[in-house]
Amino acid sequence: MAATNYGPKRLVVGAHYGTIDFIVQRITAIIMAVYTLVLIVGLLVMPAFTYENWKALFTFHVFALPVGQLLATLAFFALAWHAWIGVRDIWMDYVKPVGVRLLLQVLTILWLVASVVYFAQILWRL
């Protein structure tokens, strides 16, 4: 590797330096925060806190479009992607052996994909 590996002489190979992950972490956070506000507004305009009204938060339709389910699905995808970056950062900070880190990262992905599928099949069966 060249002695000066920064500034204009930086060796630009191999990685995207985490910029995309940095941005995704923030965009997904905003998506989840907005969805939280949507749920809070939904709870506030709810005439009474009953099973039917609670379920309707996630199943309401607008012009035959399943908006409630779509919003919940998008928010959950944002959650999974956000959690992936966050948990991956934890492994990268504290777990140095490459093999163990890779194993934990693979398990993290399986954990999150399983959660997404589990959530989606509950939501879209309603």
Partner: protein, 137 residues
């Protein structure tokens, strides 16, 4: 230039596990590690508690009513309260980080102040949920 080689420069490494307890973090540092802990907690509980709880709440009127029965247990109440705190803390601290990214309140004094506000607001909201959960509200 050659002098600098003679004098070894101080090295700062990650603190080791026994040092953690004696290490005095500033408030913003405590907020930061709590952000990480709450995030990890929510991640671990996602398919174990959060999604199953959601499933029960929407599946049928019977399973919806059953949640209240399960929540009669004090241990269940505590688990729920820890998760509620985790969400509230992660939400409030996350808003603070987004503001910092927008260069709002980056200077030392206002960053410390906002760290205190986040801690106060998230704990106060958690207290409201605790009172509700344990039937005092």
């Amino acid at each position: 230039m050659s002098d600098s080689a003679a004098k070894p420069r101080p090295q700062f490494r990650n603190i080791s596990v026994p040092q953690i307890l004696s290490y005095r973090l500033p408030l913003a540092g405590k907020l930061s590690i709590l952000h990480r802990i709450s995030g990890a907690l929510l991640f671990l509980c996602l398919p174990l508690v959060i999604v199953p709880l959601f499933a029960a709440s929407v599946a049928s009127p019977e399973s919806y009513a059953q949640i209240a029965q399960y929540a009669d247990n004090v241990l269940v109440k505590l688990v729920l309260l820890v998760l509620i705190w985790g969400y509230l803390h992660h939400f409030c601290a996350g808003i603070r980080y987004l503001m910092l990214d927008l260069h709002v309140g980056v200077d030392k004094v206002s960053a410390q102040k906002s760290a205190g506000v986040v801690l106060g607001v998230s704990l106060a909201l958690t207290l409201v949920f605790a009172l509700k959960l344990f039937g005092a509200l």
